[in-house]
């Protein structure tokens, strides 16, 4: 008796901005089985990293993903610098941190919008993206581009933030904070939003650990873990404590990201006020020595690992990118079964999946 339905969800689907397929089996509208089918975003960047001269990797790895592009470029330069290791000027570290948090702000705003769209709250989606444009504007003013900043180079950064820009950034961030405060307040308290997210897609702490989840997905399940605790770049000099929610459902993950949004703004403010004077880049000669290292940064979606291995030439021996979504993706295997078709987009988006990151 074929009372079950087996159909593809994706690769082209209006709620998925990216190509990924989930082969889902339903009973009525209840999901009973899900098989993720990936490979639509695979380009082969890791291999190309070995073929390229190491400086080009920055521009290539930035384009692993356009949303967390900044974190990728930061990680790739951190990894390369650690091969020597190089001594990076403090101002550079602060600048990198500021941009990283700015990128997080934009990514979280983007996510909050997409998440609202996942349960059909279109006006909310548009409002978040409207605010996000302001963040993109300051990114463009300071780093040179809205999406792909290309501001990191091995040994430093390309651009500086001067006093005038600093003021614009602070002003804009204040506006962003005020406006998102309104919206996040709606998102957290709205009855319709709550009824679509509370108790949906519950992942316990143990499950999250066993699946190796990272980032807000993990923190939404009550685990306080964050790569920023390793104090890379300037995080050692800033006040930072991870944000944790314990419920483990979509609502909790949403709350984590909403609160991180404000935390990111706070971090930027703090970093801007502590910004030390000095050089923004050092000169680098030759290729990285034969060595191996791991660079870990906290991307908007979680911990980003870059494993790099040099061999003394201008080409790297090996570059391995482990993106947060790659670690979070197995979570669909426990989030989806048992939920309703209507909750599939909500659950998927609650992980903040990024296929281009996952598949590289």
């Amino acid at each position: 008796m074929a009372t079950r339905t087996t159909v593809p969800f994706g690769p082209q689907h209006p709620v998925l901005p990216e190509p990924v397929q989930l082969r889902i089996t339903y009973e009525d509208e209840k999901v009973v089985e899900v098989v993720p089918v990936i490979g639509y975003g695979q380009r082969g960047i890791e291999k190309a990293c070995e073929l390229n001269e190491y400086n080009k990797n920055i521009y290539l790895c930035e384009r692993v993903c356009g949303i967390c592009s900044y974190q990728h470029s930061e990680s790739v330069v951190l990894a390369t610098e650690q091969l020597w290791p190089l001594d990076i000027p403090p101002r550079t570290k602060f600048l990198r941190t500021i941009w990283a948090e700015m990128a997080r702000t934009h990514s979280h705003l983007l996510w909050l919008g997409l998440f609202a769209d996942a349960f059909g709250y279109e006006s909310m989606f548009l409002q978040f993206w409207r605010i996000r444009e302001k963040v993109l504007d300051i990114l463009e003013q300071t780093a040179g581009h809205r999406v792909i900043q290309s501001v990191n180079v091995v040994g430093g950064v390309r651009r500086d933030i001067d006093e005038a820009q600093k003021k614009t950034v602070i002003d804009t961030l204040n506006v962003v904070r005020r406006e998102s405060d309104d919206l996040v307040n709606v998102l957290i308290n709205d009855y319709t939003v709550k009824s679509r997210t509370v108790g949906v897609g519950v992942m316990t702490k143990a499950q999250a650990m066993a699946l190796g989840c990272v980032g807000p997905t993990l923190r939404g399940s009550g685990v306080s873990e964050d790569a920023r605790l390793t104090k890379y770049s300037a995080y050692g000099e800033l006040n930072y404590e991870p944000i944790v929610e314990t419920a483990g459902d979509c609502y909790a993950r949403m709350k984590v990201r909403a609160r991180e949004l404000f935390q990111a703004i706070d971090l930027q403010m703090e970093a801007l006020s502590k910004l030390p004077e000095g050089e923004i880049a050092i000169k680098v000669k030759g290729g990285p020595p034969a060595n191996e290292t791991v660079a870990r940064t906290e991307a908007p979606r979680g911990e980003l690992y870059y494993y790099a291995k040099g061999n003394g030439t201008r080409h790297l021996e090996r570059m391995k990118i482990r993106t947060p979504t790659f670690a979070n993706l197995p979570a669909v295997l426990i989030l989806l079964p048992g939920c309703q078709l209507a909750d599939v987009p909500v659950n998927i988006h609650s992980l903040d999946p990024c296929i281009s990151c996952t598949e590289r």
């Binding site: 695979q42 890791e46 070995e50 699946l211 964050d226 790569a227 390793t230 191996e292 021996e317 197995p330």
Partner: protein, 126 residues
């Protein structure tokens, strides 16, 4: 990189399980092509993700290696990936994508292995 523990391929399941039971979290695995052999490194993190531990073993290119998916599903994707990109012969995978997790039918097979470099270099078009 600190904390590299050299093991043999048969110990990986036990050692990995030990670390996981002690509260560590699987991070990722990296495969390196050492021309003759493959070097596989599993990364685990502990202490709020701050400390890293690596388990590393080296195998010949046509040796079979065990899978950690029996212990934790978190290694599912990466082991499938190593299998198809490096030709690492991982056996007993929980879900085996048969070498087509990421690669399509007409993609190059085991593209990450060294000898394939030349092939990929010749590409490039307008």
């Amino acid at each position: 990189m600190e904390n590299i523990i050299q093991i043999t391929k048969n110990d990986i399941v036990n050692e990995g399980k030990k670390l996981l039971d002690a509260g560590a979290k699987f991070v990722t695995a990296v495969c390196n092509d050492l021309d003759e052999k493959l070097e596989v490194t599993y990364f685990f993190s502990a202490n709020r993700g701050v400390d890293l531990t690596c388990l590393r073993y080296t195998v010949g290119k046509d040796e079979e290696v065990p899978s950690l998916t029996g212990t934790t599903l978190s290694t599912l994707l990466i082991e499938n990936e190593m299998k198809e990109l490096f030709g690492l012969k991982v056996k007993d995978l929980a879900i085996d994508y048969g070498g087509h997790l990421m690669l399509a039918h007409d993609s190059p097979t085991t593209p990450m292995l060294k000898p394939k470099k030349a092939e990929a270099e010749s590409k490039g078009e307008i």
